[in-house]
Amino acid sequence: MEIIEQVKEKFKSKIKSVFFHNEKRVYLEIDKEDLIDVVKFIFHDLDARFITASGIDNLKDMEILYHFSLDSDGIVISLRVFIDRDNPCIESITSIVKGALNIEREMYELLGIKFLNHPGLKRFLTDEFPEGFYPLRKDSPGRAEQ
């Protein structure tokens, strides 16, 4: 696909793997250090729309998928980033995409991922929960101890 070739050409070895699920769904794996550059390119130069980001707990590490949509072609590009589970932190993309503000806050709250340089990283869904209870982590108990 033409657009993916563009991304590959621009970042070369920074793109660790490309996986075509089908012609409309592409998954790119990158390092967390390169995230800002790649997001900038996809959001500004390719004029993609930021859909959302999904955080996943794999028990051995954490994974974040940043989903972008190229609406004129109907393609969804998902950037896959792996981070350390013991110290989950990653650069925030709010400086590029304003709409990521609440999406990152939700991930912070439900999975405990810290976003560096985020303007307002505080809980907003569940302020009654005790500190350290992250419901979407696989090893969390079903309910918080009250």
């Binding site: 569940t126 302020d127 929960f129 079903g142 309910r143 918080a144």
Partner: protein, 140 residues
């Protein structure tokens, strides 16, 4: 035995206040639907009011989330007595499909006393009207 004057006056025209405590808002729409031309509950003297301080009946929908539990109690305390609570929908009655969730503090009768249960997901407007009529019989 003479009927309490307050209760007698109350029966003529029920003022209801609607409280959504973590529902999918389907029950809420059906409550609003009761106001519109097809069902038109105002002909029975029932009015949806904007403040709980004017209400005789609290219509509660939703599971009652942990974040909401305190607020539900507060609103119940603010309601003038004698007042009644109606739990609308499967979530408010039993917790429904969300029963195992980590945000569940309800069902509603765990938080405040409930007088009438209207099950259904969502209950039809006819069922809600029937439920309120049952409440009126109960007040007798």
């Amino acid at each position: 035995m003479a009927i309490d004057l307050k209760t007698k006056a109350l029966k003529k025209s029920l003022f209801v206040f609607h409280l959504s405590t973590g529902s999918c808002n389907n029950c809420d729409i059906e409550i609003l639907d009761c106001l519109t031309p097809r069902f038109d509950i105002e002909r029975f003297g029932m009015v949806l009011v904007g403040s709980v301080k004017h209400a005789d009946v609290l219509l509660v929908t939703g599971i009652g989330t942990i974040k909401n539990a305190e607020r539900i109690k507060k609103l119940y305390e603010q309601m003038p007595k004698p007042g009644f609570v109606v739990a609308i929908g499967a979530c408010a009655c039993t917790g429904g499909i969300f029963k195992e969730g980590y945000q569940m503090a309800g069902p509603i009768d765990k938080i405040i006393p409930v007088d009438v249960y209207i099950p259904g997901c969502p209950p039809k407007p006819e069922a809600m009207i029937a439920g309120i009529v049952k409440l009126l019989e109960k007040i007798k």
